[in-house]
Amino acid sequence: MIISLNHYLVLAALLFSIGVAGVLTRRNAIIIFASIELMMNAVNLAFVAFARHWGDVGGQIFVFFIIAVAAAEVAVGLAIIVVLFRHRETVNIDKVNLLKW
């Protein structure tokens, strides 16, 4: 069995779908955040697989930037969760619906 681009893409698709399921079903804001990281990693895997396939380092550079953006996103997002917890004493997103229609 020769491992080709398709195998990596199918794996990335499965990991991404697991992340989507986590975001849509869990109510704990921190686990939702972890699921978003999972989705981001699936996309990174697809990028690196394509970089390997075409022999172009551009895909790996993109992953580098995605990791940088993820770091900034996590810092701000976790700060928001900390503030949320300080105000509401919960991270259950069903209890935080002030801006929901």
């Binding site: 681009l5 893409l9 990281e37 990174n44 900034a72």
Partner: protein, 165 residues
């Protein structure tokens, strides 16, 4: 040999990915996420991207996950029961399952160029030299913008989490 390691890493990463969303305790969930990230880093090594794999382990599995665990410990969350599944959540599972099946089927059905193995063999593809050279010539402006974004992220996090008198 390569197929064996790919299948092993794929199975472990999907298992730990499922554990991320199935665990009750957020700490266990984040620790399983670290396992997934390490598996993906190993896959990066197999895809001749050793530099990105090192960054993944140091920054993602190291720094970002430590931040996650730090916030979890800081908040001292009581476990809340997520209660009965709402219609929205059932729809979410269905949507995710349909997404997985459709993408997997599509990818299996569409023959990409060079279906056996990879298209090109580029020696030294993901080496530090190749990535660094590309990063500091072709992608220099995005690189600088990323540093500004990180600065904005730091300032934002500090301002948000500051206690107001």
């Amino acid at each position: 040999m390569e197929a064996f390691f790919f299948l092993l890493l794929a199975v472990v990463s999907i298992f730990s990915g499922l554990m991320v969303i199935l665990q009750k305790s957020p700490v266990a969930s984040v620790l399983f996420l670290v396992l997934t990230l390490v598996c993906v880093a190993a896959l990066f090594v197999m895809l001749s991207a050793p530099f990105i794999a090192a960054i993944q382990v140091i920054i993602y599995a190291g720094a970002i996950m430590v931040l996650f665990l730090f916030v979890l410990m800081l908040l001292n969350l009581q476990r809340f029961t997520e209660g009965a599944w709402s219609r929205f959540q059932i729809t979410g599972v269905v949507v995710a399952a349909v997404l997985a099946v459709v993408t997997a089927l599509l990818l299996r059905a569409v023959p990409l160029p060079a279906d056996s193995g990879f298209l090109r063999e580029t020696p030294g593809l993901g080496s530090v030299e190749a990535v660094g050279l590309s990063l500091f010539t072709e992608y220099l402006l995005p690189f600088e913008i990323a540093s500004f974004l990180l600065l904005a992220g730091i300032i934002g996090a500090v301002i948000l989490s500051r206690r107001r008198p």
